[in-house]
């Protein structure tokens, strides 16, 4: 689906021509190994690059220019996958053919060049006042987790489940690591990003492939680099505690349970594990939804998610605090049932149909096409929906039972009000 070429060693361009969308989407991903300090540096760096650049030194000027380009969306962001940190620049602009006047495409390409290669520097480093301001913004983003109880409970569970491990490192770092950043350290981080990171550039839209290849080669003059190989996390992190209860002023109880599985993204059993999760709690037909919610009326939401990068399965549910034991039991019973092979043909059919549908729907979005391709390209095979549909189709009840038998409960985290 994407046409890939190399702009420089370690820098790849992936282009997809399609008439599906009224816009053209770009995504430029810079990748480096994930650790607490560099995550913090790169999160603040993404904010600083978003704020201004050498051509538009004030944020308002930068934003005005984007508005003038028919509200071209341009933002930097920080995320992570497995043991890698990604600093990314996403841009989406209206395809010229839908505008009565003005050609914006070339201006957007120039702007991408500016945003990446012309940072707003003073005496060779980032502007101290901007750095301080954006450090504060990232700090507040980290702190805001506390004010959202569901996110906070999930954050706490992950910390308990996998301490000192990529699974519990935030893409924004920590308050302490953000504090240590200086304009000098940030400038070094920027230079490392430009010169050493593994870079993938994506373009999706109704474009002339050759012309865009040529223009981007000019707009993105990256040099060759030997990108650092990031290995999968090897450290044997284990849950600190099997049960943790914490209290805040709140009404609902947040029950978050962490399980482990040896199966990870790209493993032979990966497709089977996806089916396991769908039957367990991935959808509205799943065991968790049908039992915790529909049968027992214990919750409004009860679901599971499979994080294949770290080999973890999370179950989350919001319950009346006094029902903690009952809800925990019902959740455990669903896993037990699957271990005992209580999996119906209907559950399998439904889950397979939903997985195929989800994949096809994701591919209807420009961002979806980019993310799927970006993830699956590392498997060293040509991605196609049919390949995955076939893999899911072959999964049997026995396979899912086997997956269930390898799933182990490691940690229960319960967040609730003070009087409970």
């Amino acid at each position: 689906m994407f046409l890939s070429t190399q702009l420089a060693e370690g820098v790849n361009l992936h282009i997809r021509q399609t008439t599906q969308f009224k816009t053209v989407s770009f995504s430029i991903k810079f990748r480096a190994p994930l650790d607490q300090q560099s995550a913090a540096e790169r999160a603040v760096l993404s904010n600083v690059l978003q704020h201004s650049n050498g051509k538009f030194k004030k944020s308002a000027e930068f934003r005005s220019y984007l508005d003038d380009l028919f509200g071209t969306v341009l933002y930097f962001d920080a995320s992570k996958r497995g043991s890698e940190h990604t600093l990314l620049l996403n841009v989406e602009t209206v395809n010229d053919q839908y505008l009565q006047q003005n050609k914006v495409f070339n201006e957007v390409l120039d702007l991408i060049n500016t945003a990446i290669f012309e940072p707003n520097l003073e005496n060779g480093t980032f502007v101290p006042s901007i750095v301080e301001r954006e450090k504060e913004m990232v700090t507040q983003r980290i702190q805001s987790i506390f004010d959202d109880k569901t996110r906070y409970a999930q954050y706490r569970l992950t910390q308990i489940l996998r301490p000192n491990h990529p699974a519990s490192i935030s893409a924004s770092g920590t308050i302490d690591t953000v504090k240590q950043i200086t304009p000098e350290s940030l400038t070094k981080t920027y230079q490392a990003m430009i010169n050493e990171d593994k870079v993938d550039i994506y373009v999706v839209g109704d474009i002339d492939v050759e012309a865009v290849q040529k223009k981007l080669t000019e707009a993105l003059p990256f040099k060759d680099r030997k990108a650092k190989e990031t290995q999968q996390d090897t450290n044997e992190s284990k849950a600190e505690k099997e049960y943790t209860k914490e209290q805040q002023e709140m009404k609902q109880g947040k029950l978050h349970i962490g399980f482990s599985t040896p199966v990870r993204f790209g493993d032979e059993d990966y497709a089977k594990m996806q089916i396991f999760n769908g039957v367990f709690g991935g959808y509205a037909h799943s065991k968790l939804f049908m039992n915790v919610r529909e049968k027992e009326s214990l919750a409004y939401y009860a679901s599971s998610s499979y994080n294949s990068q770290y080999g973890l399965v999370y179950v989350v549910s919001g319950i009346e605090p006094s029902n903690e034991k009952k809800a925990t039991d019902v959740i455990k019973e669903q896993l037990e049932a699957m271990k005992n092979g209580e999996i119906t043909d209907l559950e399998l059919t439904q889950t397979k149909a939903m997985l195929v549908n989800q994949l096809k729907e994701t591919l209807d979005l420009a961002r979806g096409q980019i993310e799927i391709y970006d993830q699956y390209k590392d498997l060293g095979e040509t991605f196609s929906v049919d390949t995955w549909k076939e893999r899911w189709d072959q999964v049997t009840k026995e396979d899912v039972q086997k997956m269930a038998s390898q799933v182990q409960l490691e940690a229960v985290y319960f967040l609730c009000g003070k009087e409970a």
């Binding site: 599906q20 009224k22 816009t23 944020s59 308002a60 000027e61 934003r63 005005s64 508005d67 003038d68 380009l69 028919f70 509200g71 071209t72 989406e92 602009t93 209206v94 505008l99 009565q100 301001r133 504060e136 913004m137 507040q140 983003r141 702190q143 805001s144 506390f146 004010d147 959202d148 109880k149 805040q248 002023e249 709140m250 009404k251 609902q252 509205a284 037909h285 049908m290 919610r293 529909e294 009326s297 214990l298 919750a299 409004y300 939401y301 919001g318 319950i319 009346e320 209907l346 439904q350 889950t351 149909a353 939903m354 195929v356 549908n357 989800q358 096809k360 729907e361 209807d364 420009a366």
Partner: protein, 431 residues
């Protein structure tokens, strides 16, 4: 079947009003594998006092009933409708807003099967006292979940401040106490009054043949019997222009304060093209004044009065409307002062330069949004219920003048229309 072409956007919309009164719109999308279908009734949480179909006296039903009814539509004598959608690989969902209840699904395969499931489950109510009781536990947890969400409490706190009696001030899901009073009989009364096809709209967007799809829908509808459509009579009390409460706060277990300035709209009787122009004018005025390229934004950002949560929005429906502007902030009172300064001096701050810039931004927004089937289906329905057309938005924006936006802004500008609501860290955790 009528066809409506939008040349600049390269879209063709197909429309038919069926004999039973149902409005059906179909928008084929080339190159997509997905289809998204919404089936929406013009019935939301604000419709609490009305004359039930076939009766003459108005009644008031328990708060939260439209949302409760939405939940209960999914349960049938032979089980849960989600099961059927899943089997066909369709993701189904539903939502209730102040003015609408929508049932929807998206799928890439078995579209006709799922369309049939959607039409049938929404048109075949099944409520018993037992299933109604069972749902109270589930919705009770939904209400409790929202009770703990500081952002939700902030939003409703601001709306409560603005309204004296209009039911927009009541939480869409009601309260644990109010839903406890709901019976199966209530649900049938509401269902029979508001789920007549003449009060509903079906929108299909995606990888479909419009002629075939229209025939399929018509065939499904023609097999069912409905009573004659009746004009629905809804009752609302007179609502003054001024806000009910000028200032109020709530303590919660949060680290940082949150604040909204609410501006209550005084022009809430528009519809059609007038409403579209008015709504877009106010939105554009707010963007000029508070957007990221504004002087206001630079000022409050650089002085640390806001963070990434800063937002502003304008909502308008028949009978109510309001703008909300606010952020998480360590200095909420200073932020409020700044926000008010801008609204009070708006005439001198609105310039033709900023207007032209924001108009371009807004046009870009609509063109981007037309990539999203969810946006098209949901927004088209909302527009249509207010007799506006979503696809007219871009040409209307192109024609807006500085006078248009300045005049429109005046309807939310009055001092008596302003309110402030804050969520503050409870003392124990105050820093």
């Amino acid at each position: 079947m009528k066809t409506i072409e939008f040349k600049q956007l390269d879209e063709t919309l197909f429309y038919k009003k069926l004999p039973n009164g149902l409005d059906v719109y179909i928008l084929p999308k080339k190159g997509f594998s997905k289809t998204f279908v919404t089936f929406t009734t013009k019935y939301g949480s604000i419709d609490r006092t009305f004359v039930p179909i076939g009766e003459s006296e108005a009644i008031t039903v328990p708060d939260g009933i439209a949302h409760f009814l939405e939940h209960k539509m999914f349960e049938k004598e032979d089980g849960d409708v989600f099961q059927q959608f899943s089997e066909a690989g369709a993701s189904a969902n539903a939502f209730t807003s102040f003015t609408r209840t929508a049932y929807l699904f998206s799928a890439t395969d078995h579209i006709y099967k799922s369309t049939e499931t959607l039409l049938n489950f929404v048109q075949e109510p099944y409520f018993t006292e037992k299933t109604v009781e069972k749902e109270k536990g589930i919705i009770g947890q939904e209400i409790t979940m929202y009770d703990d969400q500081a952002d939700w409490r902030l939003y409703f706190g601001a709306i409560e401040n603005m309204y004296h009696s209009h039911p927009v001030k009541i939480d869409i899901a009601g309260t644990i106490e109010s839903i406890d009073k709901i019976t199966a009989e209530h649900l049938y009364t509401c269902y029979n009054t508001f789920y007549h096809p003449s009060n509903m709209l079906l929108f299909v967007v995606g990888a479909i043949d419009p002629t075939e799809m229209m025939a399929f829908i018509e065939d499904n509808q023609n097999k069912k019997e409905f009573s004659e459509p009746v004009q629905i009579e809804r009752h609302f009390e007179e609502e003054p222009t001024c806000v009910a409460v000028k200032e109020r706060e709530l303590k919660m277990d949060v680290q940082k304060a949150k604040v909204y300035v609410g501006l209550k709209a005084k022009q809430t009787d528009l519809k059609g093209d007038e409403m579209l122009k008015h709504e877009l004018s106010v939105q554009i005025a707010l963007e000029c004044l508070y957007g990221r390229a504004s002087n206001f934004y630079t000022d409050v950002y650089e002085n640390g009065l806001i963070d990434e949560s800063f937002a502003y929005d304008f909502s308008l429906e028949k009978g109510y409307g309001f703008a909300l502007i606010g952020s998480d902030s360590a200095q909420p009172d200073q932020l409020v002062t700044k926000i008010k300064e801008v609204i009070n001096n708006a005439e001198s701050l609105l310039t033709s330069d900023s207007l032209e810039r924001v108009k371009r931004k807004k046009i870009g927004f609509y063109l981007r949004a037309l990539n999203s089937m969810e946006f098209i289906a949901n927004q088209f329905t909302r527009y249509e219920f207010n007799e506006m057309n979503l696809f007219d938005a871009v040409p209307v924006i192109e024609k807006l003048t500085l006078e248009d936006v300045t005049e429109a802004l005046k309807t939310i500008q009055g001092e008596e229309q302003q309110t402030v609501f804050k969520v503050l860290p409870s003392s124990e955790r105050a820093q």
